[in-house]
């Protein structure tokens, strides 16, 4: 029994300060991403979510270049980007792919510039890894209160506009007819989305933030159609995937003789992918059983 326990939790896991930071920040980020992501999936805005990830990559690398914390840039430019995307019309179905794609391309171009300039002008190392693919084990403990505060703001915004947002998500026309300020609600949602993507950039990197945003909600929405249940299930899947990813990355140090550990972001994203496939299996079996033979 003890052998099994130490095989799962390799020595020092619970004592490691890096693990403490990763597990707490990971949980906050997974919850915020899951709650936001359910709306993202229902509104069919995964692509906009991904583009915001790229915008926050430009922000994070720009922040490093001028000597700020990457989190400030991830969230700051993400929020500005979301407002701009709202202005140029991501809420309209026609043409929004194009607008999103244009913003995405420009943002990645800026990231390339900022990462290059940071590398040639300062001693800061590992910028590409940190911005694009995440460096959760290298995040300082002081970041946790900031992450929590931003997460609470995003959740508060979604909580406030939750019902009108759901209505305008399901049917914008009915929502408008009932006097819901669809435009304002949509903009507030975009801001919450920007914050959530910015936060998950910290854990799995800007490029992979979409995985944490839409993966758990997509799996959850296959399992249940009720909003509250879907959000709760998405939170559970997201937190589990993040924690398991942290654990596997920690354990991977002991897998090879050379003690090379593997990145957290890979494990988190891989677990989410497997979770999504598994939720599909369950749906498929459910369909087969309910069908009269």
């Amino acid at each position: 029994m003890h052998a099994l326990y130490t095989a799962i939790f390799e020595p020092g896991f619970f004592a490691s300060p890096q693990v403490h930071v990763a597990v707490s920040i990971g949980a906050v980020v997974a919850v915020v991403s899951a709650v936001t992501g359910v709306f993202t999936v229902m509104r069919g805005q995964s692509f906009a979510g991904h583009a915001l990830g790229d915008v926050s990559a430009a922000g994070g690398s720009g922040a490093l270049l001028i000597g700020l914390s990457p989190l400030a840039g991830f969230v700051g430019l993400g929020v500005i980007g979301s407002a701009v995307m709202d202005l140029i019309g991501v809420q309209r179905l026609r043409g929004r792919d194009l607008a999103t794609g244009i913003v995405l391309g420009a943002a990645i171009g800026l990231s390339a510039l900022f990462i290059h300039l940071t590398s040639i002008s300062s001693s800061i190392t590992g910028v590409t890894q940190q911005i694009l693919f995440g460096s959760i084990f290298a995040v300082t403990p002081g970041t946790l209160p900031v992450v929590t505060a931003l997460g609470v703001i995003a959740l508060a915004v979604l909580g406030t506009v939750g019902r009108p947002l759901l209505l305008s998500t399901v049917s914008p026309d009915i929502a408008a007819a009932r006097g819901v300020p669809v435009r304002v609600v949509g903009l507030l949602y975009m801001l919450a989305l920007a914050v959530s993507v910015g936060l998950s950039s910290l854990v799995v990197g800007a490029i992979l933030s979409t995985a944490l945003l839409i993966g758990p909600p997509a799996a959850a929405l296959r399992l249940t159609r009720r909003m509250a249940w879907a959000q709760l299930t998405a939170c559970l899947i997201g937190v589990l995937a993040t924690w398991l990813g942290v654990l596997l990355a920690y354990d991977s140090y002991y897998w090879g003789a050379s003690h090379e550990s593997l990145p957290v972001s890979f494990f988190v994203v891989a677990i989410i992918f497997v979770g999504y496939l598994a939720s599909g299996l369950r749906v498929a079996r459910g369909r087969r059983c309910s069908r009269p033979s």
Binding site: A138, Y253, S258, S261
Partner: protein
Amino acid sequence: MFKPMMQKRIAVAAAAAAAVLTGLAGCGGHASAASSGVINAVGAENEYANVLSQIGGKYVRVTAILTNPNTDPHTFEASPAVAEEVSTAQLIVQNGVGYDGWINKIESASPNSARKVISAQQVLGLPTDTQNPHLWYSPRTMPAVAKAMAGDLSELRPAHRAYFQARLRAFDASLKPWFDAIAQFKAAHPGVTAATTEPVADYLLTAMGIKNLTPFVFQADIMNGVDPAPEDIALENGLFSKHKVNLFAYNQQVTDALTISIRENAIHDGVPVVGVYETMPTGYDYQSWMMAEVHAITEAVTNKISTQQLK
């Protein structure tokens, strides 16, 4: 006791600088590829460029590519201007072991059978998969590279062979105080241990008889811009809190939030910090730079004094 050596060093540096200046003045633009006049040469890193101008003297115009001691050389990307400079050079001195892979690309993109290329890796006969590329910290590197430089310069300008050989002898002699300081430290301080962020000064630490207790995987992760494992971070911080090391060699050119927090832990636990550089800092020549690092390490071990930055 460092005074006379310093003076000698300054004299050598001044002679080298003057030689480069006269070289530049005599050149006035791109010299022809003929076997007379000034040789256009490139040192991929400024420490090799510095030694090259010490050996080549007035017959060489040396350009150094990596010169900024405040950036990470591992992330360097060559600009078109650098490519132009390299492709027109008659003599190139580079480190090898993948440290300056960009220069190999420029060389193969601009084939020139008359061009001479000296790679420290090849001169030392090291395999390509050598783990630690910071060869110039090893006391056996520069004498061998300088000898190769004198040889190639003599082939490019056979008439000045005696001149190059004389400068090579002067260079070799100027390294003696450094060798002596290393040997002296090794004899006087057995069993010294160190922690590092990167394998920058590892060859020098080994030569001084200092054991580096930081796992190589951790050093390689920092060097390659990859996040080290939490296990290795715990091990590294433990070296300070358990007072297992006499000094902490900190690479000033490759930093992030993690290396800074590790340095804070070292300072907190009273472990003296020695700033080490990959690129030769401004105001030094190769010999005075290496001497300054040995001096800083000696101060850390004997007097527990930190030298975070070379000035």
